[in-house]
């Protein structure tokens, strides 16, 4: 091959979501992940029976542990890829980006779903959650109220609906008795789609900024390098580019694992979108720090300075290199750089909640160390996410691929289900469009 990559020889165009066919779901890795996931859910029972005090390392000095600060406030940023990509695709007409919409929507749904699980485990008087419905008890100025309303609403309504088309599609092909349901539902989904999708972009902007506002209300207890009145804006902005970087990473990882061709034109589009978000964000953050008169704190606050520069370098340097085509055209370099951006972004979202929160402790030094139960449970939510993702991409047409793979998958499935017809639906003037046969 003379060192050529596949993309040099043929221009790959992703055109359709195609399942990762012909591979078993229950691989060894999958079973390990599922084992961790189940272990976590067993430990959740322990927490429910014996209380937060014995299950976690939390104390009155550190009331929030990794379930909230990591699983909810940090990881949901990884699942926020769907709103910047969606806005670029639907509003700014970057049509090619529709190819990765299904992956990023799936990631969003799973991450938010496990985030909700983490909140449910962490909340210690869950029997009072019905207060969400008692209007006269709402404290609408509280960022917590915003998060508690907005996140479940987003996950269970717009995100859920946006993730139904691949399911209906498979139902149509593989389960003929279900076609009536699909024929009935798909036109409804199509008719309401613009309204639902617009909601799916408004809600994450609201609650991702509310996550920043959560720390805003802790006032000067958060170190001034992080605490700023702009924190909500910086939080939602960071979520946007972390989400895009996560999408790039996961698509690349899938393509490299299952030897699928990579469409570099779409990757370039995504990187351009990400860089458009990253550079102004860094400029705004530095400007904000300087304007508030905290310039020197960037250098003379010891470990916190180090964390600050780690965030900045991890986000800026990869984004800077990704401007060059050489770094974007190699799958490995692209993955490595986007991975660093995700890491830096996660550190930025995590720091104000833990490292930079009450660092001086008013003379009393208190530490928070997560217990094994907390760590395993937190990991278990992540593993649940990955397991469900693996099942979904192997069963549903989610990962983007060239048209050729669609026909290959059809002939593969015909070996087992001879009645399958996934192509040749002819002229929609004779067959009415959109599954309505």
């Amino acid at each position: 091959m003379n060192g050529h990559t596949q993309s040099d020889l043929t221009v790959v165009r992703w055109q359709r979501g195609v399942p990762v066919f012909g591979l078993p779901i229950r691989t060894k890795n999958f079973l390990v992940l599922a084992g961790i996931a189940i272990a976590g859910f067993v430990l959740v029972t322990y927490r429910e029976v014996f209380g937060l005090g014995s299950a976690t390392g939390l104390s009155d000095a550190f009331p929030w542990g990794i379930w909230k600060t990591f699983n909810v406030m940090t990881l949901t940023a990884l699942g926020s890829g769907s709103f910047p990509i969606g806005i670029a695709a639907w509003i700014f007409r970057k049509r090619r980006l529709h190819a990765v919409m299904r992956v990023t929507l799936l990631i969003s749904f799973l991450v938010y779903f496990t985030g909700l699980l983490a909140i449910a485990v962490d909340v210690s008087r869950p029997w009072n959650v019905y207060n969400l419905l008692s209007v006269y008890r709402w404290n609408t100025i509280s960022p917590m109220w915003e998060v508690l309303w907005c996140m479940p609403l987003y996950c269970l309504f717009p995100l859920f609906l946006e993730n139904t088309p691949p399911v209906f599609e498979q139902l149509w092909y593989f389960f003929p008795p279900g076609r009536g349901l699909v024929v009935w539902l798909v036109p409804i989904i199509r008719k309401t789609y613009p309204y639902v999708v617009a909601l799916a972009y408004t809600l994450p902007i609201l609650h991702q900024s509310a996550l920043g506002a959560l720390m805003l209300l802790t006032g000067n207890q958060v170190f001034p390098l992080w605490q700023t009145p702009l924190l909500p804006l910086l939080y939602v902005w960071a979520a946007a580019f972390i989400g895009v970087a996560t999408t790039i990473c996961s698509v690349l990882l899938c393509c490299m694992t299952w030897k699928r061709p990579i469409d570099h034109s779409i990757m370039d589009e995504l990187v351009r979108l990400m860089n458009w978000l990253i550079f102004p964000w860094i400029a705004l953050r530095l400007l904000d720090i300087v304007v508030r008169g905290n310039f020197l704190l960037m250098f003379n606050s010891g470990l916190l300075s180090l964390i600050f520069w780690l965030e900045m370098v991890f986000i800026f340097v990869p984004a800077y290199y990704l401007r060059k085509a050489k770094y974007r055209n190699s799958a490995y370099l692209l993955f490595r750089n986007c991975f660093l951006i995700v890491a830096g972004g996660m550190l930025y979202r995590f720091s104000p909640t833990t490292f930079a929160y009450r660092p001086w402790r008013f003379g009393v030094i208190a530490y928070y160390t997560p217990t094994v139960i907390e760590i395993v449970t937190s990991l278990s939510f992540i593993c649940t996410c990955i397991c469900l993702f693996l099942i979904a991409v192997k069963r549903l047409p989610i990962l983007p691929a060239p048209l050729q793979q669609w026909f290959e998958s059809e002939s593969y499935y015909r070996n087992f289900y001879p009645y399958i017809q996934m192509s040749g639906y002819g002229n929609p003037d004779q067959h009415r469009p959109s599954y309505a046969d």
Binding site: G53, D60, S124, N131, W138, T202, N220, G363, Y425
Partner: protein
């Protein structure tokens, strides 16, 4: 190019939304100066008068039916800080040997802020500030146990019952049952040297300033802690030593929650901006979605494959 009625409607909606958003965000900001309720009650604690007898700690536990906290040595009721069994505690500041400073006691309890962080933080008004007395109290029925009040409180007052299944937020509630019965709180009632006294907040403030005037130079920086800190508190402190040593944090007068959340309040006023964004997006989306659908159907015609949304 002719303008159809649909276009006109669209322009009208978008313009209206833009005007509403601009109006809501651009309207002059309300001056947020937290003011205490008219009949705000208060406490004045004078650290120079306190003898550290801890009568108030015992009286508090008695009046609030708190369990004795014997967790330190399994024998004596000797809590080492505010916790789920302790709403009021006396602490001692001990100067380092040889630096000539004086000892000082401090009584820690809820400050009953004029603009409390915990009340702004609580999603369902489980922590509420009484409109007449200004007492901040906790209602179990509304609390979901998110512990955001603990995170937000700059004085680190709300404590959580970590070991209980039916966990509670524990903090001083100004003996609200005793207040309702026309009595003063248990701690001020029992205090032998009257180091902590009960009264209306404005009266106590005057009393504090009178003491400072009568003994110039006796009190640290000649100021009352709680008069202006984070918009003011209803529990006021006088001390001979630095308030830092007593664990009372530096808070500037503007660092109250409504100031921290002023932008959020403005942006979310009448929910105008989110609704504006939503309406704008729907307008663009409907058009682009129609195009996308047409393209999908063309694709369908060409390839004979079912369209993918």
């Amino acid at each position: 190019m002719s303008v159809t009625r649909r276009d006109l409607l669209k322009i009208g909606t978008l313009g209206g939304a833009a005007v509403a958003v601009g109006g809501a965000i651009g309207s002059p900001a309300q001056e947020h100066v937290p003011t205490p309720p008219r009949d705000a009650v208060g406490m004045l604690y004078d650290s120079t008068k306190c003898i550290g007898c801890k009568s108030c700690v015992v009286a508090c536990a008695d009046a609030n039916a708190l369990q004795p906290d014997t967790r330190v040595d399994s024998l004596h009721q000797a809590p080492n800080d505010l916790n789920s069994f302790t709403k009021d505690i006396i602490k001692l500041y001990k100067p380092k040997y040889g630096d000539g400073g004086s000892f000082a006691f401090v009584k820690r309890q809820c400050m009953h802020c004029v603009d409390p962080f915990c009340v702004a933080a609580c999603p369902f008004h489980a922590l509420e500030k009484n409109k007449t007395t200004g007492v901040v109290s906790w209602t179990p029925d509304k609390c979901i146990g998110c512990r955001y009040c603990q995170l937000a409180c700059p004085y680190q007052i709300p404590k959580f019952d970590w070991d209980s299944f039916n966990a509670k937020i524990v903090k001083c509630e100004f003996c609200k049952e005793r207040l309702a019965a026309g009595k003063e709180p248990a701690c001020t009632y029992v205090c032998p040297p009257k180091a902590v006294i009960f009264g209306r907040r404005d009266v106590l403030l005057r009393e504090a300033h009178r003491r400072i005037q009568d003994h110039p130079g006796k009190y640290f920086e000649n100021r009352v802690y709680g008069e202006k800190e984070a918009g003011g508190t209803q529990v006021l402190y006088l001390s001979a030593v630095n308030f830092d040593y007593l664990g009372l944090p530096h808070l500037s007068p503007t660092e109250h929650p409504s100031n921290w959340l002023r932008w959020q309040e403005r942006v979310l006023k009448f929910f105008a901006l989110p609704v504006g964004i939503y309406v704008g997006m729907v307008t663009f989306l409907k058009q682009n979605f129609r195009e996308h659908e047409n393209e999908m159907d063309d694709e369908h015609k060409k390839t004979g494959l079912m369209p993918q949304l």
